[in-house]
Amino acid sequence: MADQSYAIFPKIPVGEAVEYIVDWIDTYFGWLLDAISFILDIFVSVIQDVLLFIPSFIIILILAAAGWYVTDRDWKMPVLIAAGLLLVQNLRLWPEAMETLALVISSAFVALVIAIPLGIAASRSDTVDRLLRPMLDFMQTMPSFVYLIPAVIFFGLGNVPGMIATVIFAMPPAIRLTNLGIRQIPKELNEVADSFGATPNQKLVKVQLPVALPTIMAGINQCIMLALSMTVIASMIGAGGLGLNVLIGIQRVDIGMGFEAGLAIVIIAIILDRLSQNVVKSTGQ
């Protein structure tokens, strides 16, 4: 028999409280949620339309050229990028891939716009750092699927709730690494800024951000990679793209379809990773 002795204490209504709070936000801040939803929807749609409007071979050329540029004119990177993207195209997954790319770009962009200032704030104030730290731990350890629930409640189904969940999921490493990068700057470099009479803003722009850039870029790289992994999961709440094909593959037990979409995701992941990582390297010098 199961041990029921703990049942003499009534259950603390954690779930009920969360439901209540969510309802309350929905009732009183519905207008704000609608506005956010409206703006994000336009943002992701525009990027998506642009990516789909440009002929695929031009996008392949642009990405290959970017690979060539960030590796300091190494021919291997552009060849691999072009080969990978041609395979995606050949698998007839180009529109889905562009949809995923649009989601990643827009989510990562929003995440970074929030994360980098937060990271800077955390590096300047120990109080902000202390407040932020448990929140980041919470965000990073909470199973990513859990983000999907409030996202759906507040924003319904579609790309926008997918983006919201992605933004939340992808932010923490960018915040942490921005904070870390600035805090790791040697004491004497900060003293240089102070001793020659730099204002706090001059110190940030001319000393701290440039010196911390390699670490911040590593955070951006992490943010992009997490955004990609989350956009795939976000297909469960109606976000489009390659993730949807994977989901359909699972539901229909269609191994072929699931594998092809998975392969395309891996190719995009590798391209995004290598491009952003090499930007890290070239800014590190």
Partner: protein, 402 residues
């Protein structure tokens, strides 16, 4: 040593009763200090760390004033109080009559921009900026237009002898050159006062002495008021017009090098300087000179003879790859070998004495005294780090006996 007539000198920086306490309740520590409690007693009673205890001294215009003491004595904290990188707890610092601790934010910013500059131990160059933009940094912060600040920065770079390196990055320069950049940066703004925090301590001994000489040369031309922090007595005696010896957050004695050596006011100063006239304190690395010239063991006697002629010497050290020590080539042997068409390896002398960089000078003196040939300084890896000749040992010793 020149006679400093202090009455005719203008006081540039006047420090009075300066106290710095690190901790959360400095007031309590200040009270205990007034009661005459010691640094250790206060740390026990209140957990407050007294870094500077009632420090007072004057710095005259145009002199090099050295703050000297062992690590932890508070000299770097004191230096940082002067431009308020560290906020003093109490006391006054008058620079041309303006009280630095009382300045508001804007006044402090202007003071730092226009009147005081700083050179750091770790050079502290911005790694992403070229030399030119590093030196121009203080001017950029002041809001000077790019063209003007590049022109002024270029002049400062020329002053420290780095013309031609304007577009290099700091990582492409050696330590000595990087510190020249640090010096140029502090000079670029034409500020009257220069704070130098262990500026040459991170450099290797040969470069350090070179930089000390250059600072003295430079000072002849720019005539700044320099406050120089050092833990190295040799450096302090060489650079300082006057020296303040510090211990446990207090200034024990202020005076010229001669005052401090000949009239130590306390036991501590006496102990500090008693080592000075002993050759024991110095080791091979302090008296060696650059390992020049060296001849490659694989080259021929012609090359060796040419080098000896060029440098006006009668012997030259032979090395293998990576400056690995091989032995000594004498001029007579080389001439002989040249006639017979032999290689250098046949005439090399391997049985001459060698020393390591840590060998005390006391052991070196007998070696150089009874042999006419120089002594190579070889490190753990067998590389030639320097050469010692009789003259350089004597010069180093006489320098110590001020």
């Amino acid at each position: 040593m020149e006679d400093l007539d202090n009455d005719n000198k203008k006081v540039k920086v006047e420090v009075r009763n300066l106290v710095k306490v690190f901790g959360s309740k400095p007031e309590k520590a200040v009270e205990l200090l007034k009661e005459g409690k010691s640094k250790a007693e206060i740390l026990d009673a209140t957990q407050q760390n007294v870094a500077l205890n009632n420090v007072s001294f004057d710095v005259y215009e145009g002199e090099i004033f050295v703050l000297m003491g062992l690590s932890g004595c508070g000299k770097s904290t004191l230096l940082r109080c002067l431009n308020r990188l560290v906020e003093p707890t109490s006391g006054s610092i008058l620079v041309d009559g303006d009280d630095i601790p009382k300045m508001n934010e804007e006044e402090l910013l202007n003071f730092r921009r226009h009147r005081i500059g700083m050179v750091f131990q770790s050079f502290a160059l911005l790694p992403h900026r070229t030399i030119l933009d590093n030196v121009a940094f203080p001017l950029e912060v002041q809001g000077m237009p790019q063209e003007d600040r590049h022109k002024k920065a270029g002049e400062a770079i020329e002053l420290v002898g780095l013309a031609g390196y304007e577009n290099s990055l700091p990582s492409e320069l050696s330590g000595g050159m990087q510190q020249r950049v640090g010096l140029a940066r502090a000079l670029a703004g034409d500020n009257d006062i220069l704070l130098m925090d262990e500026a040459f301590s991170a450099l290797d001994p040969l470069i350090r002495r070179e930089m000390q000489d250059e600072l003295l040369d430079l000072q002849e031309r720019v005539n700044k008021t320099i406050i120089f922090v050092s833990h190295d007595l040799d450096e302090a005696l060489k650079l300082g017009d006057r020296i303040a010896l510090m211990k446990d957050g207090t200034v024990v004695q202020v005076g010229t090098a001669e005052d401090i050596l000949t009239n130590p006011e306390t036991k501590y100063v006496e102990k500090f300087v008693e080592d000075v006239d002993m050759a024991k304190v110095l080791s091979a690395r302090d008296v060696m000179k650059r390992p020049e010239p060296l001849v490659s063991i694989n080259s021929g006697p012609n090359n060796a003879l040419h080098l000896m002629e060029e440098f006006g010497i009668s012997s030259v050290f032979a090395v293998a790859k990576h400056r690995k020590y091989e032995g000594l080539i004498l001029v007579d042997d080389a001439t002989e070998a040249k006639k017979k068409g032999l290689g250098l390896e046949t005439i090399i002398k391997k049985d001459i004495p060698t020393v390591t960089p840590d060998t005390p000078v006391t052991e070196i003196i007998p070696l150089v005294a009874d042999s006419g040939i120089p002594i190579p300084v070889i490190d753990d890896e067998g590389k030639v780090k320097g050469i010692i000749i009789k003259g350089s040992v004597l010069a180093a010793l006489s320098r110590m006996e001020v």
